[in-house]
Symmetry: C3
Subunit: 341 residues, 3 copies
């Protein structure tokens, strides 16, 4: 359990305002949802729609927007419980993964690396030649940063993350466990039935505030740059192939995949297991639905569903018609008989 | 080759019964199927249906339920060759991955960890603060166990497995190479076109006898617990998103995926690359076919096929009709012409 | 940026021929495509179709098949610019990942290992008992090679690659970061609602010149051998299940998946996210399209599209008909009304 371990009074102090209804010395051991909370946990009520759930909750204390009758938990009335609870979550998240700081004796830092202030380089982590590592960045144990990479400030690379050579990360980039950034793109030339490797010598440039889930692969460009725009969020087990140009604030949900040389505009969303075939362009703000796969360019703002992806309204009509297709086939036989007779 | 290196007499001793037809000093170097076996290998015959294959096999020795005429291999007649062969497999599997035992000098165990008896902590493995590690559990090289995790007895974490903080494993849990348990769920709030991270401070609780394949991702809950029930088996490259409640004895085959906050009842089966969209419930014992994806709740015991998943019988009818759809379209044109003329 | 750092004269020397139009002392810092190049980079023109792009390029120098008018860059005229540029790429690729050589002090090599000449075993890499490692092979940091594996000459295992016990690699095999070769196949026997593990004691045999992308899983055979033929190329996040027999020069594109005991003939192609259901055979040279999944045996040379995969021509006709299906349903209602009235 990620610990909070604060009295309700201390929580009020952290939030900076609020009125306590109940015991100000009550200790909130941790946080939970209204449904999941136990007696020593703090929960929250976003607005009136959740008042009934609050009454049924086993939470020991609840952040509330106003005093709620019939709630047995201690209440802390604050202006915006949702925002206040979020601030507590950020505090817990920071503390539960607190790092020892410094460079562990079993980490290996090669020559030419420029290491910022207040970094953590965990046990067994490897920093290759000529890396630049920004201030306060954390390399978890057994992560790997290849030659000439530039890692910005306040980045976090979780355990066993692999960043191969010549990759640039902006500031505040988070990469979850085991992801591989900078593997070679899948590029071969066919020659007499054999497949000859095209060396992949390009780079990857990742902007600020990008978060990359666990076990994601992002491949380096063949010659130029694979680009991930600032603010983009990539889920677990997603794949971005070589030479892609991913815009800003794009959402690539878990297990989605983008083939080679694709261009995604800003704020594009690929839902779970969605995909885009190689060399296509998806316009700004377009959405490709869960498990849907674009085989053609997608205009800005479009909503595409299905595999192959079609306009969402058409695809929903087709799926509706499909349910009646066996009946329609029987109708057709009957019609033909009638006409022929 | 995983070695057996036992004489047929020693095999009889291990099984505890049986009659040898042939050379009791014949050395079985290893095991194989009837088709794949070479002259120094031991195979088995389950029942009469496999007698002909036994006659064609190159195996040096065969476990058989009764003497088979025309088999040149040495035969060991036992009550249940299938069960006896399985016991030999378990013996081989134990020995082929035998561990050195103890804590390797290059492993790093942080303060507050409680380490059970007879554990192996491999080279470069990292055990963070306040971990509890049960008896006889094995952490392969370069695996990582985060703060406050509880690992039961007889667990095995293969190389480079990452278990982030606040994860609980039952007894006899096996996790194959590179899997990441406890990465952050994919949770963002949209605010003026940007995506603001919702800290994921919940836990994961995994029951007894769970096996998790290679390169699987299981995300921690936002607030409460992601749960994997006892006896559940998860294949390679599968994904379980945050807040899921997976029942007992569930089968998630390789590359299947379960989106956020999904509830799967006991004994549910997701075949290869099957999926379930977020916030759905799949009832006990339901089966979702290979590459099929549920976009609606699935009742207990249902068999669902297709994407979107439908009742299997309906989906098979639709697929059958689809093959005839181009012809039907031509028929329709003809019918309309006839009627109009 | 992967560096070239050669004068145009040095490039001519490396290629072994060519005429310089411009400054022979111009320093090419690195390489790029015509579109992506900056003023200090070298690019190339394959043939006349790209002459206009060359005129618009910002490249500082260009390899050309003949002098191109209107190009401001320095030109190096060579017989085959494409081949010459490829040779430069190979040179850059070799140098940008240059290894320190030798066995890092924090690597762990167990007893009985036979280590070839001029190998690199990186920091934290683990080589278990009785491994054979060929000449000039490179184990990147924190990679793992299990008991009794045989690794050929000139192989490269990227960081955090896991090769479990009893796996054989040919020569010149490349495995990208985090891939897991030799995890247990997904094999269970159902017994009274529980799933009993079938120990997976078989091997994996991988041929020469195989390249395996990042985060790929290849499972060991239950009893015999999972086989990957020489020259086969496997993309990121692909999955090969236990007991598969993959032919030579096969292409498994990123995120494709092959279920258990499948046989793929030589030169089969599975496009992105394509799949084959268990126990099927796909004949030599067959192609399974992107996101298409074979549920039946596929004859040699066939082109299969869709899920379930059908003959490509039929599937394209069906997809065309589907777009008109809602209209067809309206037509059917009209026809039935006319006939009934």
């Amino acid at each position: 359990m990620s610990r909070l371990e604060m009295t309700l009074e201390a929580v009020r102090g952290f939030i900076g305002e609020g009125e306590i209804l109940g015991d100000q010395d009550f200790v909130c051991r941790s946080v939970a949802s209204l449904e999941g909370a136990e007696g020593d946990q703090l929960s929250f009520v976003k607005d009136r729609r959740f008042f009934d759930r609050a009454r049924q909750s086993h939470a020991g204390a609840i952040l509330v927007p106003e005093a709620i009758e019939g709630v047995t938990a201690h209440q802390l009335v604050v202006g915006n419980p949702y925002v206040a609870f979020g601030a507590l979550l950020h505090k817990i998240a920071r503390e539960k993964r607190a790092q020892p700081g410094g460079i562990h004796p079993s980490a290996v830092v090669y020559s030419g690396a420029v290491i910022g202030d207040d970094v953590t380089i965990g046990a067994g982590a490897v920093v290759r030649e000529d890396v630049v590592l920004g201030d306060r960045s954390v390399l978890y144990p057994n992560s790997y940063v290849g030659q000439r990479c530039k890692i910005g400030h306040d980045c976090v690379l979780h355990p066993n993350v692999v960043v191969m050579e010549d990759v640039t990360l902006g500031d505040r980039v988070i990469i979850h466990g085991g992801s591989v950034i900078g593997g070679d793109g899948y590029g071969y030339i066919q020659h007499e039935g054999r497949h000859i490797k095209v060396p992949q010598v390009g780079e990857i440039v990742i902007g600020d505030d990008v978060e990359i889930g666990a076990l994601v692969t992002i491949d380096r460009a063949t010659l130029d740059r694979t680009v991930i725009g600032s603010g983009t969020k990539i889920g677990d087990l997603a794949h971005v192939a070589h030479n892609c140009q991913i815009g800003q604030d794009v959402l690539l949900l878990p297990t989605s995949a983008v083939s080679g040389s694709v261009i995604l505009g800003d704020r594009v969303i690929l839902a779970g297991r969605a995909g885009v075939i190689d060399n296509l362009t998806v316009g700004e703000g377009a959405v490709i639905g869960a498990t849907s796969v674009a085989f053609k360019d997608v205009p800005a703002g479009a909503q595409m569903w299905g595999n192959p992806a079609r306009d969402k309204t058409l695809e929903m009509r087709i799926q509706g018609s499909l349910r009646r297709l066996p009946q329609m086939q029987r109708d057709m036989r009957a019609v033909k008989q009638k006409i022929d007779s």
